[in-house]
Symmetry: C2
């Protein structure tokens, strides 16, 4: 632990916290620039259009009739769900539509900052006008409960995503305000947040509830930071502190609805991480996205309050996730059944659920763990999830999506235009469009560089405006040149992450070598000095290719090897290789070469090697025989995992046979 | 093709057909004797008792009120299914209860022959009395349609198993008659078969239907053979010829019920092999048990009618199954979804459905393919399914059952007392109890020996009574001594199967060596001579241990190896080995030793070897790393697959990692 972080823990002083730079303060180019441009030029419009096609506009527009029940999701029949007394023991995706709008607005906000788009801005403004009209005089705002289930507000927090929707609208409002300066939506959501604060809290007469799908917690933190209103932070903390406390709110709420608490569709409150108070939790359980959003909110509150008890729980949960339940791609949540976690070391490749939203959620959590100061265990994981299991969910051109992100496919797992549960498209959209905010975090007298890549950041430190310009072809090349440009000389510590995947790195400041071992702590090289205009940091990260092996307790990866280069995990696709990828092996002795291919998949570095392959020839006499199959040489070519299924549909595999 | 078989095909003469010896004519000892004793002393009683517990007695007893709907199976709610007009677009297991009785009676019949059991015989006689009372004046007999859905008989052959139930009752009746000499049930079922023959057939005014679950076909063949009534054979042939003919009966029948034919739960008529006429079929598709029962009936009819067009279809289907969709255990039907077949080379191990009934069905089919004469490709497969994927479904003591027979388990797949769909327990019970009938088949002047094992058979050939006494410790030892004991000298051909798994065999008759290569055809050594009392055949089959490799197109077995010795496939269980069996590899160079263990699992030969195993030690820093896991030596011990899960529950694997 750095002295910095220890001090923060002891004092609980907010001034020591590291906070991300807001999106408008970091301009990305290069690898992430291309991704952001795809979202700004394509995805942002597509999200809006798909929402309209799904009849989401009608739902929020008080001047038009409600669309009624449009897309039933799990168990209830349309008749059941349309019954006035229906209390939603199960859910329809329509209950989440406000969250889809929230994330769509958030994506649009960052995109509008990147690239002017008058039509989109007009459309979003019109959506905001509808929400303004829809909002009730007391501040309440939920298109589902106002238009489909009037009179039932706050009766089923467990299943119906009411506060979750509020959270996403808040995040959208904060982003739209930061990106466009327009505060109408922010004002609407402040009124709603005020109403929520009047409804829930520790004070007598207020409800003691919290949401069955976490999200409101981290959103209220954002709102507090954006508005300076401490009460939103307090409410976020309340929701976290209250979660899982006995008597259990969801039990009492069910009884109040006249329902049997035991008749819960998902059987256990582990599903929504309310099985026990959060400070007593030590295993990552249940629905993966819910878990990530909860831990994100917990990390924010731990930072804001210097709360070591939360931090201790978060460290236990982090260890549990990263040592027992994490795909090598940064994907999480192997099971479709609960969209979440199963048992330790259970990481099936072909049936991996690994929802795009869950990997995005891991990015959120990891980034917030950096609030207490730089620590590469979090930033390394953030980078892994960013470059692999999250952006695999978006096609290179920004138009098509994955919900599940398996690590192996027989060729039938392909990208879709939309999904009946459309949570992932706007989630990956907003994450990519806001990538700049994950590059750095800033404390009173320190700047931490978490991510590398061509970019320019602008911020004030100790009252002095500073630009930091990275010049690099990262992640294809490990050479990173950083110019530090303060308006006037200013002393602060520059923390540079030394990625754990990097086996050799060299660091120079203005041409003079820095001893990385001496300078490094928690995986970051720290350089404190008075920075001057023109100071130049040269950081060179070795990008040799790695073979990765999984802990032998992971049955699905035993005897297998994955390839990585820099932060990227690679996969083998049928289109570059002969079919039946399961027949390919990669001997330990095989040389693996890297090849820049600027015209492939938007420009990538591919890997190639000579492997081997069992031949199926001469198997005329049945399925089984005593003679082992003959083996022939096989050229193999691997591409970055994030870029798969952007060409002809076909098989794909991450974990090759080793040997 | 042997001259024998060619002649049979050309002439179509029934006299050339090979038929199995009835159960009472073969007395088994040794390996199969123990299995039969377990069924006779335990399983047969258990089957009856479980049927009673499931309220099946009440259903067939006209003197008691119907139990109503007892165990709903798939989709319909009890309310739906109890609705008088419910036409069963989906099914409940209760529709099959007559088949459960049929198979329970059949198991009891063979068991009573093996071992006197007055209480069981009295119980079965009482069941038969109930069926006698239940039978309608016109011969119709279905407890489901008479007691639960009166008035709807013959309205849904597609889904409701009406003729399937008839078939199993017929098989039970034939067996009970053969084993006990009592013909009451046989007479009841003849009356029912007469009614069916009056209802279905090519003649004008008769219905052109057939059953959605094949079974009646092979049952009618048995009935024809037992009674000498040709019309039952003709009806069996009609059901086979009519299957899949356009206009499609199931379409017309659905329309007649006022239902949409397209609203078929299983979507495609491939599910019940009525997607096209049987002679045009070339792929094994759909529900595995249905397929096996159909092909069994087709094989019987091909034999009885010398029908080459059926035989050609059967040969295509046989090739398809055995080269593309067969587990190494003789299990078939990988998918739980349709309880059947998926795509070529798709043979998942852990999720293998491989229903006990399906492997039993493969034994039925293979045995009937021997009707046209000895051919080891069928008998080898029959032996493989018998010794592995079928009897794995019954615990060694005869009291517990498997429905699914996976080839890999994490320890949670364990035997049960009963099943909500209890088709497998009486199916494996009747198969084991009738094992003697699979040992031999007899033609006018030939005896084929398909299976080896301590046993005595008695039969007449060319008017001369003959005993054949096998003395052997097979399958644990490959030495088989066969005494041929005719009452008087008699000329016939003795065909001895030379198993395909055997790499070296020696054969002597009365001490003189026989040149196996010269004597063999279609995998059988043929010896024609005048056999005398005291003639002695010594057959010695090498039982070295084999490593088996799967066709590389089977993705789930790539880089894996299975162990076999004689007809037995082996597996590795957690109880004999350290846990996490996925970490075990078996190098190609490892010596594998066989050890007789008379006190283990009822007496088995185990296999042992020194393999290797990745150690999970020193994985403190996360799930993935660049250093390959260390490998240590691991002793491994394998037991016959059929005997798994008879001790402590735990992991199991058939396909070990190779290398």
């Amino acid at each position: 632990m750095t002295a910095h972080r220890s001090a923060a823990r002891k004092t609980g002083k907010l001034s020591l916290a590291f906070r991300p730079l807001p999106v408008p303060q970091v301009d990305v180019r290069g690898f992430w620039g291309d991704r952001v441009d795809a979202v700004a030029s394509r995805t942002a419009d597509i999200l809006y259009e798909r929402c309209v096609e799904a009849r989401m506009l009608e739902q929020i527009d008080p001047d038009r009739p409600s669309p009624g029940l449009v897309i039933p999701f799990h168990s209830p029949s349309p008749d059941e769900a349309a019954t006035p007394g229906f209390t939603g023991s199960t859910v329809t995706t329509q209950m989440f539509w406000d969250s889809d709008w929230g994330k769509t607005i958030e994506t649009a906000a960052y995109s509008l900052y990147r690239r002017r788009n008058d039509r989109l801005e007009k459309n979003i403004d019109a959506v905001i006008d509808m929400y303004e009209k829809l909002q009730q005089p007391d501040g309440y705002l939920s298109s589902w409960y106002q238009r489909i289930q009037p009179g039932l507000r706050w009766t089923n927090l467990r299943d119906c995503h009411e506060l979750y929707c509020a959270g996403h609208l808040i995040e959208g409002a904060v982003a739209y305000f930061q990106a466009t300066g327009k505060r109408k939506l922010l004002d609407i959501l402040c009124r709603y947040a005020d109403h929520i604060a009047d409804t829930f809290g520790p004070e007598p007469g207020k409800q003691k509830g919290y949401c069955g799908h976490e999200e409101i917690e981290l959103a209220l933190v954002k709102l507090a930071r954006a508005t300076g209103q401490r009460k939103y932070m307090e409410l976020a903390k309340y929701f976290i502190d209250q979660r899982g406390v006995e008597p259990h709110y969801f039990d009492e709420e069910a009884r109040a609805r006249g329902a049997d608490p035991k008749a819960y569709h998902f059987k256990t409150y582990e599903y929504n991480q309310s099985h026990r108070p959060v400070r007593e939790q030590d295993k990552v359980v249940g629905h993966a996205v819910r878990a990530m959003y909860l831990y994100s909110g917990m990390a924010d509150i731990a930072t804001e309050y210097g709360d070591d008890t939360l931090r201790a729980a978060l460290d236990r949960l982090w260890d549990d996730l990263t040592t027992k339940s994490l795909y090598v791609t940064g994907g999480i949540g192997p099971s479709a059944h609960n969209e979440g976690f199963t048992s330790d070391y259970d990481l099936p490749n072909e049936t991996a659920y690994a929802e795009t939203c869950a990997s995005v959620g891991l990015v959120f959590w990891a980034s917030r763990m950096l609030g207490m100061g730089p620590d590469a265990r979090y930033a390394d994981m953030m980078e892994r999830a960013l470059y692999n299991g999250s952006i695999s969910g978006l096609s290179l051109d920004g138009s098509l999506f994955f919900y599940e992100n398996p690590l192996e496919s027989r060729g039938k797992h392909n990208r879709w235009k939309w999904h009946r549960c459309p949570c992932c498209p706007p989630n990956i959209g907003r994450m990519v469009a806001s990538i700049g905010s994950y590059f750095y975090s800033l404390a009173d007298d320190a700047l931490a560089v978490h991510l590398y890549g061509d970019s320019t950041a602008r911020f004030d430190i100790a009252g002095t405006p500073v630009s930091v310009v990275q010049t690099s072809n990262y992640p294809w090349d490990g050479a990173v040149s950083i110019r530090v440009e303060p308006d006037a000389p200013v002393e602060f510590t520059l923390h540079l992450r030394v990625p754990s995947w990097c086996r050799k790195a060299t660091l120079k400041v203005n041409g003079a070598s820095v001893d990385l071992d001496a300078a490094s702590n928690d995986g970051y090289a720290a350089m404190r000095r008075e920075w001057q205009k023109g100071d130049r940091v040269e950081f060179d990260l070795d990008m040799s290719i790695s073979r990765l092996f999984a802990n032998p307790q992971v049955r699905q990866d035993i005897g297998r090897v994955a390839l990585a280069r820099g932060p990227l995990i690679y996969c083998v696709e049928e289109t570059d290789n002969a079919g039946q990828l399961h027949r390919i092996s990669l001997p330990r002795t095989a040389e693996i070469e890297a090849h820049p291919e600027p015209n492939l998949l938007g420009g990538v570095v591919t890997l190639s090697a000579t492997g081997s392959r069992e031949t199926a020839e001469n198997w005329d006499d049945g399925l089984y025989r005593t003679e082992a199959p003959a083996v022939e040489q096989a050229k193999l070519k691997a591409v970055p995992y994030y870029a798969w299924d952007n060409r002809d549909p076909g098989e794909m595999v991450v974990w090759l046979r080793d040997g």
